[in-house]
Amino acid sequence: MISIKNVSKWYGEFQVLTDCTTEVTKGEVVVVCGPSGSGKSTLIKCVNALEPFQKGDIVVDGTSIADPKTDLPKLRSRVGMVFQHFELFPHLSITENLTIAQMKVLGRSKEEATDKGLKLLDRVGLKAHAHKYPGQLSGGQQQRVAIARALAMDPIVMLFDEPTSALDPEMVNEVLDVMVQLAQEGMTMMCVTHEMGFARKVANRVIFMDRGQIVEDCHKEEFFGNVDARSDRAKQFLAKILQH
């Protein structure tokens, strides 16, 4: 589904990604973790071409991102993305947030788009808020709307870029619950997150990044079960975040 091949990226002189290679197969849930500044958000943004990269290629469902002939808007319309800061459109109501891209990008009719949007809103438990504006919702509610907005495009894969790190602690779970449900329904997911509970529960694989490199890329059982076999950097990281 997603094939990342030898991707390298520089900001001027500074190299943010070094020779990253990995795969996400259909139905797989892959959690990407690592210390801040390790390039994990940058890597996931390369997958839908929100960030350009200078070397290597990423192929999403057979479409190469590095190929200059690729219709990037079309590719992005099939890849759902959820951001750290939700990024709902504040000048549009919740319903409009859910329908605007369906109508303008996929060409769906207003009835069809609204119907689909409201169904998904119901699924994330926020049907009563359809007429409100993003500013009237809590962070957790906004993020659930953002997930519904991405799902409304019928994506073939969902990307999550630290979806819970801007949330108050008591709102983290309502968002994780939606993500767990999605994973259990078989959605292909690539999640940058520090929520190791989520990783243990639903991830198939865990990728650990440090200084722009993929240091660990292994099955969940191997990653959490056999800590002694991990690299020193991953051990340090795990010791820190699993301490409490």
């Binding site: 839908n48 808007p73 992005r76 800061h85 459109f89 000048h91 891209a101 990008v105 991405a150």
Partner: protein, 221 residues
Amino acid sequence: MDFSAIIPALPGMWEGMAMTLKLLVLGVVGGVALGTVLALMRLSHNPLLSRVAGAYVNYFRSIPLLLVITWFYFAVPFVLRWLTGEDMPIGAFTSCLVAFMMFEAAYFCEIVRAGIQSIPKGQMGAAYALGMNYGQVMRLIILPQAFRKMTPLLLQQSIILFQDTSLVYAVGLMDFLNAARSRGDIIGQPHEFLIFAGLVYFTISFSASLLVKRLQKRLTV
């Protein structure tokens, strides 16, 4: 001082005010439209587009409006004749309107540019991530938010343009100030008419400013 002559002159002066308002509204609409295009050019990654827009803005902000108005009035028919080989009188109103639009566009461009830059980068990322193209991202997501934020500044600039429309006297157009002044001159009471015109300009501009301030407060809270 005898202000009694003003009352019978009001209908004529109202015609002048209608001309002033027409210039103002069309000038603002055209200026904002052109200014938005210039702002998008200035922010574009294409170095040619952004340099052309930058040069335009810097040029028009460095010359007096009166010069632009007279230049358009005298030079544009000349240029048109040179291009088409025929006499094409465009008239004082059209030449003034084009001058206002092009001059104000330079100022509106900077306001719109700041407005666009004030929208968090993530909004653009989210819009692109949903599969929108550049035009859709700007038209549906970024510009509506930017215009909401910059409405007070756009109105403030429009108040300045309202006063600057009086410069059209240079090419003989009958705006409000010109209408008032010429009537005062005919009757032989120029002072009364100029004082009246000043009061009208002050009342309109000042109350518009107060409205803008209230709007600004409402938008920031």
